[in-house]
């Protein structure tokens, strides 16, 4: 284990940290991403209103323009309010909370699934390997949004109507997670195949070292970099997928609006001129996806200088 930690320490000490300091774009991306994530995590403490508490809503506040006192109630809102008088700034904080929760959970699910599948494929070899990789190939050739939609459709058919609302977020996490396990599986399988054939691993197997030990002390440290890159880019994709599905009306339930739901809602008011209902959630989603993507791009280059 000491070998892996020192490797990590060295990696962090030299090239990665250096290229981070060198890239202003990356620093800005990190700040933007961190701000949105912190805002989402601490939403209940930061948000001026709780958009899910009907008692705090006042229909008189509906359609307030940003930074302009409402003509009926006189209240002023930073980013305005929507048709029901909900503060847009607060809904964005809570929306980002849901978007990020689904995103992180889906990536974690996909990552665990993918790493497990990759390890099993490499370790077992033979038909298990062929089968898993064949499934991965086929799935990779279909767009993930289609797979997520299909899983969603099946879940909708299987889950009783009265449970749909409570299960929706979990269905979403599974659907998005299932659509991006392949990348993880491939990377882990590749690395595990290389390690598996090394002599010390063969020797360790012969003297009866538990496979879990070999996996945790030798294989996983080796794939940490690529897995981190994939996880970062997957997070951006997962947030986008979640927003897309919610926008299409097959994602989170309307009682728990995510950024996608907010944008879908905002679109309805475009033609009547209430642009702020659309603009602010859209800008937040774009800033989040773009900054996480930039971080992923930077991470990939930093961990693999040859590709620059």
């Amino acid at each position: 284990m000491s070998q892996s930690t020192s490797k990590l320490a060295r990696m962090w000490d030299s090239d990665v940290a250096y290229s981070f300091r060198r890239s202003p774009v990356t620093i800005i991306a990190a700040i933007v991403a961190l701000t949105i994530i912190l805002g989402a995590v601490f939403a209940p403490w930061i948000a001026p209103h709780n958009p899910f508490d009907p008692s705090s809503l006042n229909l008189m506040d509906g359609f307030s323009r940003p930074m302009v006192p409402n003509e009926f109630s006189g209240n002023t809102y930073l980013m305005g309010t929507d048709n029901q008088g909900r503060d847009i700034f607060s809904t964005i904080l809570y929306g980002a909370r849901i978007s990020l929760f689904v995103g992180f959970a889906a990536v974690a699910f996909g990552m665990i699934l993918g790493i497990t599948a990759g390890l099993v494929a490499a370790w077992r070899g033979g038909w298990v390997d062929s089968l898993l990789m064949r499934i991965a190939d086929v799935q990779l050739s279909f767009p993930s949004i289609l797979i997520a939609l299909l899983i969603f459709g099946i879940a909708r058919g299987v889950i009783p109507t009265n449970m749909r609302e409570t299960m929706a977020i979990w269905v979403l996490i599974v659907a998005i997670g299932l659509s991006d396990w392949v990348q993880f599986a491939r990377v882990v399988r590749g690395a595990a195949m290389v390690e598996k054939n090394k002599e010390y691993v063969q020797a360790a197997r012969v003297i009866g070292v538990h496979p879990a030990r070999i996996i945790f002390s030798h294989i996983l440290p080796n794939v940490l970099g690529p897995v981190l890159v994939i996880a970062t880019i997957s997070l951006a994709l997962a947030v986008i997928s979640e927003a897309t599905l919610s926008f299409l009306g097959v994602g989170v339930p309307p009682t728990q609006p995510s950024l996608g739901t907010l944008i879908g809602n905002g679109q309805k008011y475009l033609f009547s001129g209430e642009w702020w209902i659309l603009l602010f959630p859209s800008a937040t989603l774009l800033a989040l996806a773009l900054s996480v993507n930039l971080l992923g791009d930077w991470l990939r280059d930093a961990l693999n200088p040859r590709l620059k």
């Binding site: 926008f247 299409l248 097959v250 859209s282 774009l286």
Partner: protein
């Protein structure tokens, strides 16, 4: 070659069978087909009769076989939601999707390859860096958001282009209607095509750029330079052709995903294609339409894959085992 083709065809059939199995399982086990077909007032006896008539008590293999034979003939049953034959629904909406995919796919291909080559050849230029930054935004912007923003700017603010629907269409055959022939049809196509094509374009561009940079580093390009060939001959004769070999594969797959991504675009623009049909079916758990859509998409993917293989074979002589041979 023959053995190779045969294996590819067999593989394709296998993939189709697996997808058919999923579709069938969907149809058979998600929800109850009988309860979905009949109204509340239908008696238990009638339901029982319908079950028998549909063959739901037959052995699984027999049911699957019947499903496949009907599917091959284009019979996917009746839509639960719209009470019309699924095939008729899909056919009537297919032209809208295909025209949209064709326009955006062609534009994405031409612009993507063009920008990709440009940014690879002028790696340090200001324009290249600008294009690359914009492309990252293009990749990060969700398709639906692109659509909504385009509607806002070009339909709501500028009022240049329509924001929904297909405009006026002209019927070419009994089921093929085209929007290409009317001014409103063409105008309606612009925003959805841009929305659908933008992501694909950035993807192709980034891929072409990466592959081209890779190819420009190869020995044969170095050797071509050492022979004093002109920049044009090296870049567009040698490098571009070699770049396109791996790019073709990915682009073939992208063509398939254009059709899948049209689900989102069609929803944003209320485009009357198969994508919006599918999403509405998912919401209503209209299983026959979902099953048919799945099989159709799979069929398109399989066909595209075969075409890509053939293209590959034409472009890359190493795959051809004609005459000569290795001595």
């Amino acid at each position: 070659m023959l053995a190779y083709s045969l294996r590819r065809v067999l593989q394709s059939i296998l993939v189709m069978l697996v997808v058919a199995l999923i579709s069938f399982a969907l149809f058979r086990f998600v929800g109850d087909p009988v309860n979905s077909m009949v109204g509340q007032e239908t008696s238990l006896a009638d339901r029982e009769a319908l079950r028998r008539q549909l063959g739901l008590y037959d052995p699984f293999v027999v049911q699957f076989w019947n499903f496949i034979t009907r599917a091959v003939q284009g019979d996917f049953g009746i839509s639960y939601r719209l009470q019309e034959p699924v095939m008729k629904l899909i056919l009537s909406r297919l032209p809208a999707t295909l025209e949209l995919a064709l326009v955006s796919g062609t534009a994405a291909f031409i612009l993507g390859v063009g920008f990709g080559v440009y940014t690879a050849l002028n790696r340090r230029g200001l324009a290249s860096n600008g294009i690359m930054t914009l492309s990252l935004i293009g990749v990060s912007l969700p398709t639906f958001l692109i659509g909504v923003l385009l509607i806002w700017v070009f339909a709501v603010e500028l009022k240049w282009l329509p924001s929904f629907g297909r405009g006026d269409t002209v019927a070419l055959t009994s089921w093929w209607t085209t929007g290409f022939l009317t001014p409103s049809g063409r105008a309606s196509l612009v925003l959805p095509a841009v929305t659908l094509g933008l992501y694909q374009m950035t993807l192709i561009m980034r891929l072409v750029r990466a592959e081209m940079l890779e190819v420009l580093r190869t020995d044969y390009v170095k050797f071509a330079r050492a022979r004093g060939l002109s920049q044009r001959a090296i870049h567009f004769g040698h490098a571009l052709k070699n770049t396109m070999v791996p790019v073709i594969t990915v682009m073939g797959l992208q063509l398939g995903s254009i059709i899948a991504f049209s689900i989102i675009t069609e929803t944003v623009f209320q485009w009357p294609g198969i994508g919006s049909l599918f999403i509405n079916s998912v919401k209503a758990v209209d299983v026959p339409v979902m099953a048919a859509y799945l099989m159709m998409i799979a069929a398109i993917f399989v066909i595209i894959n075969l075409i890509v293989d053939i293209l590959y074979y034409i472009v890359d002589p190493r795959l051809r085992l004609d005459g000569g041979g290795k001595h």
